[in-house]
């Protein structure tokens, strides 16, 4: 019956293919699992006092490594000591800005200076960096200009130290996770060894980067999830709640650092769905209890993280209250919040008039200013006239003059106001061309018409005439600066000025396309507002722009971030890393130094570790296939073997899912990718390696008889350990820096170790 149920689940659950191997377990073994769980929970209850750090009281089934809590604590201390030692060693070297420290260090300084900036990642990590810097006496004055700049007297060790400390927790977490999943010390030790002695993990933890912080939260979330799973037979106890809420907190942290945190949220989400599905199938529970379970998870895994995530942003906006380099990305209303921005307590003529000098901003989020410049559309793209684009930065090319349709300058002393329905001409101040539309295809949005700059000194033709329309206004309404939403209808063709949001190719300087849309529906893309307004004939009036609501700011900043992320397209000459490069450790990243006189650091995984991970990724499916076919076919296996198979299929499956979720999505991403994007996936893959190799080595008795098989197993473990140690000895200069000749020259510290041509140290 059990098997049948599994089959029907398989048939119906089309979308859970990744969970498939987890579902094929017959219930007979599930009872077995519950038995061992019960025994485990009993032992846990016995020494509940000792389990305060959550790691010591674990039942290890049968392995030769069976240890009492005391020695397991010693092992854990040893792991932790090694982690901190490897990560904190030479933390202040090199004493100059390395790689992306130039961005993230700078952003930490912005927090200390409270200057508003724009970044494509959420703010948590940079806030932490800023905080760490502030606590250790960094005053935010170092400019972080470009990689290679010397820090000199500035206190930078605090910021690096924070990252290194958080990075040091990764192997510890991995150790605990694997131990809890597989209940095998050897598997946990293999994982910890791999991660402690991986040069890549060391290097990425040692600098002011987002990744160590991100990895910390990802691993902490997975750890809490695993701990929470272990509590499943004691629901609604305090530990149960603790781990549930901790999972939620760490998820918020992961998402608050980078959007990559979404993948771990997905992992936890799938795990929770599976857990709820299990609970739903438990007919001994009433529906009320099930809904209690459900609501608890909603609170712990959705509401708590959401609240924390929003809080992070609230702090971000409260701290950054001065105008800075990121202003132009945001709407006029948003900018008016920032001290020092010209819209903060702005004073300008209230109504738009002829002869005014204005900037026009599109109302779609991250819409940009109407812009033109001395460059023509290239051949083959509509008419060869001057480009008109939307541009996110403040620039004198965003400035336009408002004219009546016939004459250039109004003679009267008082300024005439522009009213709803008036026909105007917009002249670009810098190039004196008029905003012009005609019946040519727009460069990217082929359904729309092209908009160009045309004419000389404001003299053009009838295609330069635009009708101003205030949204929701009537004929004769005046146009309020900043507050009116206006549209520009093209007189000759009847289309409406529109910003499509698509990025133009290189000829358009990667600015945003502006078109004339024949579809007249009112959307933010076709609505504009007047932002700057100068008219000497009119009195300046202090304008209080409507302060936006916090949720509006939040939404706006997210859309701007997402736009920014998708706008990071690979450039031609830049090094572009492909996802398939990563697992094979094909190419690293140069953190610092190029020449042989400089202090060089190169981010590259320890090849032995990474290739072991690669091998285990190949080995794992084979082992699972063999195990699951034997189970499905119902061959009788020993108790130990069945347990190994189950660990491999369920817990290994969870880790494989984690690896896939953190790796596969990169194949579909159009943005520019770097080697360090693989590190979250690499952690999962290392944990999988721990479990896979452990089970493999414990299956040596398939080959040899007992005494010899134990020897073989020991031998295998020793070979693993020493190969990792030796390769770390070989490759440690990559992380801790090297000087002297480059690797392809004799006499270098790395001579003969350039195993792949693509490594560039």
């Amino acid at each position: 019956m059990a098997k049948e149920e599994c089959i029907t689940q398989l048939n119906t659950a089309g979308d859970t293919s990744t969970l498939r191997h987890r579902r094929t377990v017959p219930t007979s073994s599930e009872t077995l699992q519950t038995l061992s769980e019960d025994r485990r929970s009993q032992t846990a209850e016995l020494d509940d006092t000792q389990s305060s750090n959550g790691t010591s009281a674990h039942f290890s089934p049968g392995g030769h490594f069976s240890q009492d809590p005391q020695s397991s604590r010693v092992v854990l201390m040893l792991v932790a000591g090694l982690c901190f030692a490897t990560r904190l060693y030479k933390i202040t070297e090199p004493p100059h800005v390395c790689w992306d420290e130039t961005h993230f260090g700078k952003m930490g300084s912005y927090y200390i200076n409270r200057t508003f900036f724009f970044d494509v990642h959420p703010p948590l990590a940079k806030m932490l960096i800023g905080l760490a810097g502030y606590m250790t006496g960094y005053d935010g004055t170092f400019p972080f200009g470009k990689p290679g700049d010397k820090y000199e007297h500035h206190n930078y060790w605090g910021m690096r130290g924070l990252c290194a400390v958080l990075g040091s927790f990764l192997p510890i977490f991995a150790y605990v996770i694997v131990q809890d999943l597989s209940r095998s010390y050897t598997a946990a030790l293999i994982t910890a060894t791999l991660l402690i002695f991986d040069t890549g993990c060391i290097t990425i933890s040692q600098y002011i980067l987002l990744d160590p912080i991100l990895l910390f939260f990802i691993m902490a979330a997975v750890l809490s999830m695993v701990k929470f799973n272990l509590q499943r037979f004691r629901p609604f106890t305090s530990y149960w709640w603790l781990w549930l809420v901790l999972t939620g907190v760490n998820l918020a942290g992961a998402l608050g650092v980078k959007f990559v945190g979404l993948f771990v949220i997905l992992l936890v989400g799938l795990n929770t769905v599976w857990d709820l599905w299990r609970i739903l199938g438990d007919l001994s529970l009433s529906l009320v209890e099930i809904s209690k379970h459900f609501l608890a998870r909603v609170v712990g895994l959705i509401l708590v993280p959401l609240f924390l995530y929003v809080t992070i942003f609230a702090v971000h906006f409260v701290v950054l209250n001065k105008s800075g380099p990121g202003d132009g990305f945001f709407s006029s209303a948003f900018q008016s919040r920032l001290i020092g921005n010209n819209l903060h307590n702005a004073s300008m003529p209230e109504y738009l008039a002829y002869g005014s000098t204005i900037t026009v901003k599109n109302l779609r989020i991250a819409g940009g200013y109407l812009h033109s410049h001395w460059h023509l559309y290239p051949e083959g793209v509509g008419a060869r006239q001057q480009q008109v684009t939307a541009y996110l930065h403040k620039d004198y090319n965003n400035v336009w003059l408002v004219h009546k349709q016939d004459n250039n300058a109004s003679q009267s002393v008082t300024a005439d106001l522009v009213r709803h329905g008036d026909i105007i001409r917009l002249e670009h101040k810098e190039t004196t061309r008029n905003l012009h539309g005609h019946l040519h295809e727009a460069p990217l949005t082929k359904k729309h018409f092209q908009v160009t700059g045309y004419g000389i000194n404001g003299t053009g033709d009838t295609n330069d005439l635009w009708q101003v329309e205030v949204c929701g206004g009537q004929k004769g309404d005046v146009v309020k600066v900043l507050r009116s939403k206006i549209r520009f209808l093209h007189r000759a063709t009847g289309c409406v000025l529109y910003s499509s949001g698509k990025t133009l190719p290189k000829w358009g300087w990667e600015q945003v396309e502006v078109t004339c849309s024949p579809y007249l529906k009112e959307t933010p893309s076709s609505q504009w507002n007047i932002e700057d307004h100068i008219n000497p004939k009119l009195p300046n009036i202090s304008l209080s722009v409507l302060k936006p609501h916090f949720l509006e700011i939040l939404l706006e900043s997210h859309i701007v971030m997402i736009r920014g992320n998708s706008g990071l397209k690979p450039k031609d000459n830049e090094m572009n890393s492909k996802p398939w490069h990563w697992p094979i450790n094909y190419q690293g990243l140069r953190f610092s130094g190029v020449n042989d006189t400089e202090y060089r650091v190169y981010l590259l995984g320890n090849p032995v570790v990474w290739w072991m991970n690669l091998a285990s990724l190949g080995l794992y499916p084979i082992m699972v296939a063999v195990a699951s076919i034997t189970l499905q076919r119902g061959f009788s296996l020993g108790q130990k073997r069945i347990e190994h198979s189950l660990v491999l299929m369920r817990e290994g499956g969870l880790l494989l899912l984690g690896w896939l979720l953190h790796y596969a999505p990169f194949y579909t991403m159009g943005r520019v990718l770097y080697f360090h994007h693989y590190f979250p996936a690499m952690l999962f893959s290392s944990m999988l390696t721990g479990i896979t190799f452990d089970v493999l080595l414990k299956s040596t008795d398939l080959l040899l008889r007992p005494p010899y098989s134990d020897w073989l197993q020991r031998l295998g473990q020793m070979v693993l350990l020493f190969s990792v140690l030796y390769s770390f000895y070989l490759f440690h200069p990559l992380s801790y820096g090297m000087t002297g000749p480059l690797a392809h020259e004799p006499g270098s510290a790395m001579a003969g170790q350039k195993w792949m041509d693509s490594w560039e140290f």
Binding site: L10, G14, D15, T24, G281, L287, L444, N573, R633, M756
Partner: protein, 700 residues
Amino acid sequence: MLQLPLVVTTQVDLVLVLVSLLAFWTRLSRLSSPNAVVFDEVYYGQFVSLYMKRVFFIDDSGPPLGHMIMALGAYLGEFDGNFVWNRIGAEYPSSVSVWSLRLLPAVCGALCVPLVYLLTLELKFCHLSALGASALLLLENSLIVQSRFMLLESLLIFFVLVALLSYLKFHNHPNSWFRYCWLLLSGASCAAAVGVKYMGVFSYLLLVGVASLHTWNLIGDRTLSVCVQCVCRAVCLLVVPVLLYVFWFYLHLTLLHRSGPHDQLMSSAFQASLEGGLSRITQGQPLDVSYGSQVTLRSSASQPIPCWLHSHKANYPIRYENGRGSSHQQQVTCYPFKDVNNWWIIKDAGRQELVVSSPPRPVRHGDVIQLVHGMTSRFLNSHDVAAPMSPHSQEVSGYIDFNVSMAAQNLWRVDISNREAESESWKTIMSEVRLVHVNTSAVLKLSGVSLPDWGFRQLEVVAEKLFKAHSSSLGWTVEEHRYGTSQEQKEREAELHSPTHIDVDRKMSFWAKFLELQWKMLTVKQEDSEHKYSSSPLEWITMETNIAYWLHSSTNAQIHLIGNPVSWGVAHLSLLAYQLLAAVYLLRRRRGLKDLPDGVWAQFVCLGCVCVGGWLVNFVPFLLMEKTLFLYHYLPALCYLHLLSPALLEHTHTHLLRYTHTHSPAHRSTHRHALGVCLSASQLQALKWRDSWDILYRRR
């Protein structure tokens, strides 16, 4: 002993026959009107012409089977390939048999209707549901339009349906030996579906998924021995499709043996294997490149355009637009046309003469050479000056001594990247070499950027220091080659033939050609630009956009691809209903409440796997794609939904409700678009049910 009377009893499903007849009528009547090129016929037609002329082409949009089937129609209609497919709406001359060109896709489109009927029966639903499904398909204008012209979708849908039907036949009759024929047919149609369009892969994967689930259950059944069964399934569904897929390419390459417009995209060796074109030039060329050889060097990169190493009597400007300086030496570029300035002479650095000694001394891997430009006698040179467009790389120039203490650095080491032995000699066409600059160890590279006006918009050539292991833009191939005889500047007088003749044609095996062609098809990218009628996947569900296929040159007669709004709505509602129903069933079953008996549940699940699964695999991938998409990409997914709706209705009726429910197809009003009927502007306006449909009006 013959037993008499000899009796044949047959059962004919008259409904099935009737439905098929109707299908043929809607798909085949007035097939040759409009007598003009409709929409993508302009694209596929050119390939049909090329098949007729046996001229090689490469189409990155899909594998060749669909093109070949259309070409078969053309062959039967005795089309000679002499028609210029240049614009939509161009009238066909009387010599072109339009009917036969469009026949095969239309027949396949018509056959889909009875196939859906049978498929519903095979999913174990009743004849009425089968009739409903086939009626939905029959009256779907978008499918009618798509079937009636030289387009690939109807072929794809046909093969997918055959594959599904035959697999279900196989699965539902467990005890006959004949079932393996069905399995084989299923595998073959999968191969055909993938061979028509890559989109077929999605349905193929679905089928393999379903089959592997069934096999997995089989493995769990301990009463059977399953080895033979598993092997049979693997062979029929994995091995046979792959072999057949390769076979389509074998046919394709066998049929197309003449050189043509797309030659340039392929490697020199591939080009030389085609009749005419490069092979005519290269025939009888000496094989080994020797000191003194005159060669043209073609870049191995086909992006952005194939080109040859080139130089001419013009120098780099002293200052570029952005203020950077150059060496002001002679330009070296890559030029996409045959030109006398593409000739270079291979010179031994230690000797003066530019002629081939006898016996010729071949250049081997690792040798250091100089390259002399044939027309201007400048040496190929590189130095530590930033290249004009890619400032990270070094400039490559023809060396001119300006007496500015800039010594010539014109030694290049030959690095044959596809060598088999260390001492291999440099062979015409076959060897791909890298030229490594001896002084700086930079590699000669095509950067792919166009130079501005001063460089006559030719492509930039640089030397790049970073030694990236694999990039085709680093490789160069000798294409034209002759042994130089004259020391003077009159190289172009005599072409000398050396005795080492090679027949390059024989050198390239089918597998090498197949792999190269397949790789090129997957990697050559057309420029993505938005089309007037392109749409995004989410718009398909609500049918936001249509596609105008054809407009009569003087009247308002026009053809649009647009779905039947009623069946479209029904399809999506039933999709939603199935998902809700399945969710309810699943949750209740999990709580131990079995609403359905096991047999009915299995039937329900099977329906979901095939129909909802089919819709998912044919729709979701498009959400991730970045190419230009059209409404017709949705048609395969839609067919699955049409299969779903009546079956779901029957399920609801027999298991949830007790009263009957009917629905009437509203097909009449929009079918006029499908058939290209002439209407007045006001009638057209009345048909514009949605603002976003672009129905065309001809201005009077």
